[in-house]
């Protein structure tokens, strides 16, 4: 098998790396690629085979990924699902789920915010370093920070509990595990943004006009990378909020995050109650995911 004409370039862009390097960086646009104009070309109307197959598969996959979401809502609202889908509607399950899980929701929100703060404190300087400096061990640092993707969450959790058994009751381990697990995504979004030549040119201009380092950071760099920063923030919050695999060994009985309670409900509870708790979870996560997708569409990773 031989590589096609564009292969080496693509190899650099999509070589083993974080999902989000690729994710948040839109396709490497070659100057000859007329995708923006393509849709208006009249000959596109009778679709060619490649496009037709692609569209059919995309529709099939979208049906698979989307259909469960309204179904969760339907079951959460049904008075008694076992008596069939038409037994009547009620908000009773949602109200019950809310009183049952609001404490856990609070725990998850607090953990997610704490994780985000730590991520930014650790990740922003590190992304700056990786994007703007060449130093011995740079590749190693880049590679090591992808390790949390390679090491399963359950193994990270087990390692933490074996290494620091006395810290478990404090809940510190769960936060540490979440930071490790979410940080690569933050680096993946911020590093290309901080390396963007446009931002760096603006910084030099500001510097020649006499702006000091703090002013440059606050008025040039941060606004310049705000799309990537917002995307990274949303990503870290939603990932931590839904994180279960790392937390499985690490949560404390008094500090159960929302996913742990959801899991209990999936194993033991009634379908309606589990669906109602899931609706509350989705109400937090899906809007953030949609906002993230909009940001992704708006050139996060390059801007």
């Amino acid at each position: 098998m031989t590589a096609g004409p564009g292969a080496p370039a693509a190899a650099r862009d999509s070589a083993p790396s974080l999902p989000d390097d690729v994710v948040r960086a839109p396709a490497p646009t070659s100057p000859t690629r007329p995708s923006a104009r393509r849709r208006r070309r009249p000959e596109q109307v009778p679709l060619d085979g490649v496009t037709r197959v692609g569209r059919a598969f995309a529709i099939g996959a979208a049906v698979l990924t989307l259909v469960p979401i309204p179904l969760v809502l339907l079951v959460a609202l049904s008075a008694s699902w076992r008596e069939g889908p038409f037994a009547g509607l009620t908000t009773q399950w949602l109200v019950e789920a809310w009183t049952r899980v609001q404490g856990n929701l609070g725990v998850s929100v607090r953990v997610a915010v704490l994780v985000l703060v730590l991520d930014l404190l650790i990740g922003f300087p590190a992304a700056w370093l990786i994007a703007r400096h060449r130093f011995p061990g740079r590749r190693l640092l880049q590679a090591v920070s992808t390790v949390p993707i390679a090491v399963p969450g359950i193994a990270i959790g087990l390692g933490l509990i074996l290494a620091y058994p006395t810290l478990r009751p404090s809940g510190v381990l769960m936060v540490a595990g979440h930071v490790l697990y979410t940080l690569p995504f933050l680096l993946g979004a911020l590093t290309p943004a901080l390396g963007d030549p446009a931002v760096r040119v603006q910084e030099s201009v500001a510097a020649t006009l006499g702006a000091g380092p703090v002013r440059r950071l606050l008025t040039v760099t941060l606004p310049g990378v705000r799309g990537a920063l917002l995307a990274a923030t949303l990503m870290v919050l939603t990932l931590s909020f839904g994180e279960f695999n790392v937390a499985f060994f690490l949560f404390t009985p008094t500090q159960q995050p929302l996913p742990v309670v959801l899991y209990d409900g999936y194993l033991t509870g009634r379908l309606e109650a589990a669906a109602a708790a899931t609706v509350l979870f989705l109400a937090c996560v899906v809007p953030a995911a949609l906002a993230l997708e909009r940001l992704g569409g708006a050139k996060v990773g390059q801007a």
């Binding site: 004409p5 070589a15 393509r38 995309a58 390790v147 279960f244 669906a275």
Partner: protein, 284 residues
Amino acid sequence: MTSAGPRAGRRLPRAAALGAPLGALLLVVLVWPLVTMALRSVSAPDGGVHLGRYVEVLTSGRYAESLVFTAVLALASTVLALVICVPAGLYLERDRTRTGRGLAVAMTVPLSLPGIVIGFFIILTVGNTGVVPTLTEAVTGERMLQISYTWAGLLLGYLYFQIPRVVLVVRGAAGAVRPEAVDVARSLGASTATVYRRVVLPALRPAIASSAALALATAFGAFGTAATLSRGIRVVPLEVASAFTDAFQPELAATLSVLLAVLTTVILVGVGRLGEARVQGRPA
């Protein structure tokens, strides 16, 4: 790509300060726990070192079976996801209309959903009192597609979390497939299958390799989906959890975790490298 200034070499102290927090985190939260885990997995009761647990695990019927099962599940879900997502991702990068954007969002949103919620989606849709069996019973009198706790249900759950991961990598690399090349191939009379075989797949080979690596590693390590959906079918991450919590054998759990982590890392690096062009040297 990133670039360093000409004077970058002289700014080592500053670089060290910027990288120190990340370095410390990786040491404390990643390296030391992994080292501890590895040491526990080879610790003998008398305080010495032995590899007996690895031999035990690799020769025991139970763990060999769960390893094979995990591998089959990971491979099957990855292949299915590639078959669906290569054409779909290519189409999504070309179609900037409202339909295309909407489909892209639909295929991306599951990235934010944890494995347990995906498992619940499968239970809810095709489980014992799931929507599809209940509705088909109401309509035809027969419960259909009640598969959630079977092999097929587990595969469906894995496919669900693979789709967004694979499609994003493919979309990111779709620029490698030149529309002109596709048009030329078609004008020379190539069928759709030939266009895929001769134009699309070769150009996307790096993306296919790296998304396959990512998908396989994710599937091998997946815990939440399997924990929610599995009844009797034991994948390796579930064995880790049960060795620690049910049997309370931390050393056994550590052994299984080390094997699993080595496996996923080798897959992530090895399979991803398959797609890299030969001319590129090995990274330093």
